[in-house]
Subunit: 430 residues, 2 copies
């Protein structure tokens, strides 16, 4: 079943609001196994709306519109649809009662233009609006399905899930399950090349990669008659992807990034972490504390932006700072060890380096970063070159440095767990 | 001049990402006086893309595409456009050099699929990509203009403003100047209502508001025959907006947010700041150190997520934590004072509160936040209720708390400067 999404509203064409309705509907339709081949946005203009709606109905089994159901003169979607189908608009008593009730509750006067919202194309069913006044419309005619929804996202989303989805499930008779694998440490194009065969050859489940900053996500979606069946279909595909990409790069499934993988793993291990950040300036502790429940695994982070603070609070020795500078493996290691001791945490992680745009030299260029890790297993550091040679890469370098630090902390947690025999095999995926 | 925006990407049709490019381009085109009558989104499918592109070119003077310029097999926009125009793709040496430079710096191997990005339709001009590898394309042929931009929003936005806008200004025969005023402390709809008359009645300069999280930006754009003339036209409008909104809410012009306003102001004042963060977990120090040159004004930040660290490192008294809890004005003030003393900074700022989803009570609900400020002028705190009653508002609460803290730090800097008679009148706008 193919569908086009047609969003109506001049405010969208002026860029005054971002179109979240198209993404919401697309995602929900994909989950129902309905293909969306095009999204179109058109303004509150009768002629252009008519052309777009006709074109969408001609080329698809189903069209879903958003917007243009309100009370004002430029709300034209219903009128245009009725004209296209050659039907009249007739009063829907239930919708009128709902509107009257809504207005009496808010003490406002019911005008004729407000009442206009209760008129539907003949033969259509109203979709109740639990968050506003304008009802939605479900119309099956001439072998086509037309669903018209209100524009405000809260009204549209609530109405679609409560009243449109049951009608659509009835039409398709299929359900879907999706899982997302999270990958760090290999580039997008490398991952795509590795998965190319699966991506192009498989149709159910489907395999699709998504590039994030420094990361790749791969989504596996299966369609079947039942959720259990769809779930069963995804499993061998997920295992095959992990085998192809390599277990060491796949750090989790269906989670909110490296920070959530780390927090959940530290929770399981009963370990605490502390951060000492120079060039990332607090980004790592900010990311860890993004995760609900982080207070169980992190008590302390220090942003030691100056050498004085690195020395006075974290205890990095003056000799180290003088002999090797702050951009050195020695400083990174002393920072990680320092914050671990200061806080009493099990694992200390640190970052130091040059985010730019200034401060780089031939010997120590912008993008040179050291990440330090300290735990009962020992202390070490990793050197990274994170510059991509871009004009404005300060934030990118900081973000990549944070991701590398989170990834190293995750691996350190696993090492400690493996040593403590808390796990037989290093696996945290599911 | 009429334009269609054609966004290319299966991820958009699956609803995996929200289309911000269409809104960005629409707004920028409106500011240039170019009409957008339709936005279309299509997937990475050669046949359907060709049909949409042909339709868009047939019905408009100009088409702007986003997405599909990357290295993978399903990046098809350029190839489709070249086929439609009946031209070949030819190698653009400058683009290849840029890509080679990018890859040699990251030590990655340059594959043929990567090189494919440097090929442009014959007769086209490359638009440099300052944030990535794939160049954009500007093509004038058969009386039509086709601009192809990369999909990632940062790449698209940077490229469009730096390289496409000048060409479009050339086409329209006029030049434009834009200035953006940054507003914090009043809501978007309040600001819009205050500026409604200007927004709807003025045509040159135009006045357009943009809502950001917790902030509003108002952009003033003037068109004229020369830059100087356009510049002169914006000035009285900018002054009028500041008068209407109120000087205390307009914190800067053409800058990178509250963090940049704060860093530049601290630099001028010769003052240093330190942060003590509980619920924001490092977000404030991360934001301050985002600004290039931050090392001159911040040496130290402490993420004191647990009460133990609040006491041991920042010196918040155990009595305070026991009697008033960590969610109290007393704790916020002792944190701010503590980090100021610990670091030797001129200003200490702190945050403590409940970001949720757990941890809230009737008395101290999710969204309750205290921001503390300490300087030679004294120590105080501000109570905030930042909950919007949304399902998933943890990050929103943390971000709003950080913005309030930055704003209070900015005002404290101004107070100190005014006292020291470093400034006659508190003004930091230009």
């Amino acid at each position: 079943m193919n569908c086009e999404i047609l969003c109506v509203g001049t405010e969208l064409l002026l860029g005054d609001i971002i179109n979240t309705n198209a993404a919401f509907l697309s995602k929900e339709l994909a989950a129902l196994g309905i293909n969306v081949f095009r999204q179109t946005t058109v303004g509150d203009n009768a002629e252009r709306l008519k052309k777009c709606l006709k074109d969408a109905l001609d080329n698809n089994d189903m069209v879903i519109t958003s917007g243009g159901l309100g009370p004002t003169y430029d709300d034209l979607t219903k009128e245009t649809a009725a004209a296209l189908f050659g039907t009249d608009l007739v009063l829907d008593e239930a919708s009128l009662t709902h509107i009257e009730h809504f207005f009496s509750k808010t003490g406002r006067k019911l005008t004729d233009s407000i009442k206009k919202q209760a008129y539907l194309p003949k033969g259509a069913q109203a979709l109740p609006n639990d968050c506003g006044t304008a009802p939605g419309i479900f119309l099956e005619k001439n072998g086509k399905v037309l669903i018209m929804l209100p524009g405000p996202p809260k009204e549209l989303e609530t109405m679609f899930l409560a009243y449109a989805v049951p009608k659509l499930s009835g039409l398709t008779g299929r359900t879907s399950v999706s899982h997302t694998l999270h990958i760090f440490g290999i580039g997008e194009s490398t991952a795509e090349n590795m998965l190319k065969k699966m991506m192009t050859e498989m149709t159910n489940p489907t395999v699709a990669p998504y590039a994030k900053t420094g990361q790749v996500e791969v989504r596996v979606t299966a369609f079947a008659d039942s959720t259990e069946q769809a779930e069963d279909m995804t499993r061998p595909v997920i295992n095959e992807i992990i085998r192809i990409i390599g277990r060491e790069y796949v750090y989790g499934m269906d989670i909110g990034g490296l920070q959530e993988a780390l927090v959940r793993r530290l929770e399981k291990a009963g370990l605490k972490i502390a951060t000492a950040e120079s060039l990332t300036g607090g980004m790592i502790s900010k990311m860890i504390t993004e995760v609900s429940g982080a207070s169980g695994v992190i008590e302390c982070g220090v942003c030691s932006y100056s050498n004085r603070i690195k020395h006075e609070i974290l205890g990095v020795s003056e000799e180290t700072l003088e002999s090797y500078t702050e951009y050195s493996p020695q400083t990174a290691e002393e920072m990680a060890e320092g914050v671990r001791k200061l806080s009493g945490a099990d694992i200390g992680i640190s970052t130091t380096g040059i985010a730019g745009p200034g401060g780089g030299t031939d010997e120590k260029p912008v993008g040179l970063v050291y990440v330090g890790v300290s735990s009962r297993m020992g202390t070490f550091s990793k050197k990274l070159d994170l510059s991509r040679g871009l004009k404005n890469e300060r934030e990118l370098i900081r973000e990549l440095a944070s991701l590398h630090a989170l990834s190293l902390a995750l691996k350190e947690t696993e090492k400690i767990m493996a040593k403590a025999k808390k796990v037989k095999k290093i696996i945290f995926l599911i």
